[in-house]
């Protein structure tokens, strides 16, 4: 059984530098098991999966933090990436990305360059967004005209004076 099969595909020869030939170090991964309750802050330098309960800050700014399906965290979480499948009551701060999975439930504020909420995820709180590169907006009209509703019906006559309060001219939607 240890004999290499004659049919096995040959691995293409690659130039592997001595440094690459060494086995890659296994990334440290810690788990707080489902029966564990941690009261106090958690810090360190390895990835962490929380399946139990944590009542204290989780500070792993250079590492990934996963709150598993059974995981519950009541405090702020700091990580490089944060993935929530369980529940969190606290603010999430990620250097790179926050993902609230379908089963995730977050009550708190999210701070990260990228935030993903999967369908079904429950979230209440705020998300700070810097704004992506946006297409140049269409030329705005100096005045409001009365747009027709898609019923062709009773669009009330706008009463504003063209200059929107948000600092831009109000423009009616284009008609389909």
């Amino acid at each position: 059984m240890w004999k290499k099969s004659e049919n096995s595909t040959e691995v293409p020869t690659q130039n592997i530098s001595p440094a690459q030939s060494h086995p890659q170090p296994v990334r440290e991964q810690a788990i707080i098991g489902s029966s564990l309750l941690v009261k106090g802050d958690v810090t360190g330098e390895e990835d962490l999966t929380i399946q139990g309960q944590v009542e204290g800050k989780v500070i792993l700014k250079k590492n990934g933090v996963t709150i598993g399906k059974n995981g519950r965290v009541k405090a702020d979480v700091y990580g490089k990436t944060i993935s929530v499948e369980g529940s969190v009551q606290g603010n999430l701060h990620a250097e790179e990305r926050i993902i609230v999975r379908q089963t995730g439930n977050v009550r708190g504020n999210l701070h990260a360059p990228r935030v993903t909420l999967e369908d079904g995820a429950q979230f209440k709180g705020s998300i700070d967004m810097e704004g992506k590169e946006r297409e140049k907006p269409e030329t705005v009209q100096p005045t409001i005209t009365t747009p027709k509703s898609d019923s062709g019906g009773t669009g009330a006559k706008p009463q504003d004076s063209g200059q929107g309060r948000l600092g831009i001219n109000v423009k009616p939607p284009s008609k389909t």
């Binding site: 999967e118 429950q122 705020s126 998300i127 704004g131 705005v140 009773t154 309060r165 109000v170 423009k171």
Partner: protein
């Protein structure tokens, strides 16, 4: 679970109850289109979304520089069993607990979706009073008022498809009587908000864009 907040809205009598199939429909939104054309790249906006959190909506708003607050107020009220106005607490106390914001950082935009169809007169009035504390001159409020006799028991869930279209997700369930807020009701219940635009849609909703003054 105590449903204090819409207790006065009469449910449809038993014989008239009918099940509604889960519906997914895309409708054009004229008011939302106007709202989105207000955005300027150079400005940072504070947006309050009183509806449910959807990744699609968050993705949409991520093209703007903004702070998006998502509160899913209907859910909060539905699962709210700590105290209620019937226990002697004021509406203001309840709303302050559920919607605690900083008064020195008012919102530019409030997305109420169809929430007002699921509130009675008092709940509606006090919510608006509460939101007024976090509004400023020029704050815009977007809402959809149903013109139908009956509406689904729970609010429609809205996903932003693009700047002109909304996906309506209607949960199956029993129907209930719709308050059918008229313009005169809205004027009375929303004294500091002035109608900026309104559109009657074919789907039975009337879209409103209000401006806080």
């Amino acid at each position: 679970m105590r449903l204090w907040f819409n207790s006065k809205l009469e449910k449809t009598p038993e014989p008239a109850k009918k099940r509604v199939e889960r519906k997914l429909e895309v409708h054009r939104s004229l008011a939302l289109n106007i709202l989105f054309h207000q955005f300027r790249e150079s400005q940072h906006y504070r947006i309050l979304d009183l509806g449910r959190a959807f990744g699609q909506n968050v993705d949409f708003f991520s093209q703007f520089s903004c702070k998006l607050h998502i509160e899913d107020l209907y859910d909060s009220l539905s699962s709210f069993d700590y105290f209620s106005p019937s226990d002697g607490f004021s509406y203001e106390t309840v709303y302050s607990y559920l919607l605690p914001f900083f008064k020195n950082a008012p919102f530019d935009i409030i997305l109420a979706w169809d929430l007002f169809n699921h509130l009675d007169r008092n709940e509606f009035k006090h919510l608006i009073l509460h939101l007024g504390q976090y509004s400023k001159k020029g704050t815009m409020l977007f809402t959809l008022i149903s013109m139908e006799k009956h509406i689904p028991e729970k609010p429609v869930q809205f996903k932003i498809v693009d700047e002109e279209h909304l996906l309506y997700l209607t949960d199956p369930g029993v129907m209930k009587k719709c308050p059918k807020w008229e313009k005169s009701d809205l004027d009375h219940l929303m004294p500091n908000f002035r109608v900026c635009n309104s559109f009657l849609l074919r789907n039975g909703f009337k879209e409103y864009l209000f401006l806080y003054e």
